[in-house]
Subunit: 95 residues, 10 copies
């Protein structure tokens, strides 16, 4: 099942730059790992924002929560989730 | 170039049902045509809403406007557009 | 899987009262049917509102959309969906 | 009587991690105690958020306030309360 | 128990003036009746608005819903409810 | 004349607890004094919030401002004011 | 005492133009009358809006409500009221 | 002086199509006239919206209001105005 | 030309009280100076807020920006500007 | 292609003034460079705000993101982007 996820990142400016760099690197490593596992089929940067729009493919809402809440930047992200389903006008849905 | 588009449809309840049916059918035909042309790579229904989340691939913002403003349901849609770019953590962006 | 759903009903005041009554009766029949089927475990009225807060138990987001979009009052409802997961402090989650 | 409660937690990032851990553990202990006492019949985590949706069963609004304002994380929560009543389409309300 | 209630009235301008007058008169009669019964201890008009701020004293949220949903103008009101409790600085709460 | 006032308190978490206690005690003393003087006829706690809903009876908006801006917690409160007048359906307004 | 009032006018487009003209003329006549009576010392049009920003000088909130609710366009206006007091930096407030 | 203006057009769907066409044609003629007169130096369509973003160059706010309120579509537009001034980093502002 | 300006002041609570006092005194001195120069014809305190509503009379938007951005409290204010013009119902506008 | 960009700057008040000055100077240098390169054809200050409204001319959304995210003040700006296209009433669009 697919979930549309928007993540807005806001790292506090007074966080030590070393800790920030470590977090950002860990976030990237985790995002790559999840893409390789097929869990994160779409990941786009929003132009002009420290934000992404993603589509995650998971087995359950529980798995979605596990993935999101374990992201290294989770404490510094505002996350908005939208459940998706096949659109009746989707080419793949035509008989 | 990719644009993220959310379309919320609100057809006035006092529109003649015949006209409504015609519009909805025309909208579907146009959506399929645009998908076949490769202009509308992603089209999802939002669960529980008369709304979709889409990603369109166009040659310019001008083409995006031409496509959206010529949709049969355009007069009855609220449209929200977000420009996308490749995410630095996208698997496809890795060296 | 559980989804939290809030439904706010706004039937246009110029709808014929006969049609309104038919819709409301059909909505109630469908809600009872879905409760009997175990799909709608919680259904509460919000005090002072023509609104309900519900929890639905479904097999997938697809099924949730099928259920909601086939409700007789669907065209006149604003629906807000929140995906739920087990809380780590839930009594049932303790070892 | 039932009240629907949404709690969004935002612990300041500069709180000492020791104090944070103590607060979180105390919050969990109190939540379990209240569930055992039958005061907190439903407690769900919102997917992707440091938030819960709860239903509390209390004898009065006064008791609800006593419970909420004594939660260890109360100073760091945004709380939204909605009074509930039986829905006329609730299966349990049918004659 | 006390509930703070704000009611904003918006009668559609195309409602027949006769029907409007009947509704408004019935609303007033009902409001007076509820005040006499001790259920509606405070009722103020907001300056410059077709709105009131009220405090209702009821035995339960169920009774509050019964009262509000049976008001003649209920279909044309936006209602916002806030549960109240005694303030620790209330003179009446002092030992 | 009556003014409806909502006060939401947000004391910064990094304020020294001693200073906080002093402020809260001073606020309570002042609130009691104003109630005894007949200036603050209604003071309720909002359930689940560090907020109150009040009705103040003053001789002028100037006096209202003097009272509010001299509250010890004024620098840490968001205040929302609504002017009230007698409601035409108020029992006390009937001939 | 002074109140700052913003009025946004939205006359429904399907109101008969004759009725509209009558209302607008009556509104203007009443506004002039109130200015002559010293009750409406400031009346400005907001650039590009069918809205005004006004300052009214009245003896009480009751009088303010009487004035506003008797304006011919009252049923078609959204009104926002802000109570004013002398500013400590006002030249007229200096010793 | 320059003003940034955003205009969102919402013509009611039940307006006779003949009247609509007449209004739209008159609006276009007036927009061209104002551009030729140098009053409307920038006029862009927002992609996917029946909206424009404009910059008007006028002699005064009074003239801006005269221009905007006399546009044929004025009754059906939501207009948002922002006053502009030269930016200190504007190339043209450098010594 | 007249501009309506609302200024909401929010001085960070951790600013040294000495610096705060200096800023507030400088702000007052500047406000008096601008009133004496005829640039700031109206200055009111909003009841219960650390905010003012003002009307400034300037020769251009450029001058308005110069005045506002040079106020000592400018870095700590949220400012909202509305361009004004003469109202057709203004007594002074009658022939 | 043209994008309309609004940038609101909010530098934390506790940033060392030296670092702030360095950032602001670097921002200005970069803005001038981009204007000279023809990438930033319009740059206006919003009156009374630490904000600008800009129009950027870029070859792609990717380039727009590169430009914006490399601005020295990017970490302290809220950025809002609107894609533009030629307006059918633009003088330059007439045959």
């Amino acid at each position: 099942m697919l979930f549309h996820v928007r993540m807005d990142v806001a790292i506090p400016h007074d966080l030590a730059s070393q800790e920030r760099d470590k977090l950002v690197a860990a976030e990237k490593a985790r995002a790559l790992e999840l893409q390789r596992a097929g869990k994160w089929p779409h990941l786009w940067r929003i132009v002009g924002q420290y934000s992404n729009i993603s589509v995650l493919e998971v087995d359950s809402p529980d798995e979605l929560h596990q993935i999101l809440s374990s992201l290294p930047l989770f404490p510094f992200m505002r996350i908005e989730i939208t459940a998706l389903t096949q659109h009746p006008s989707d080419l793949a849905a035509q008989p």
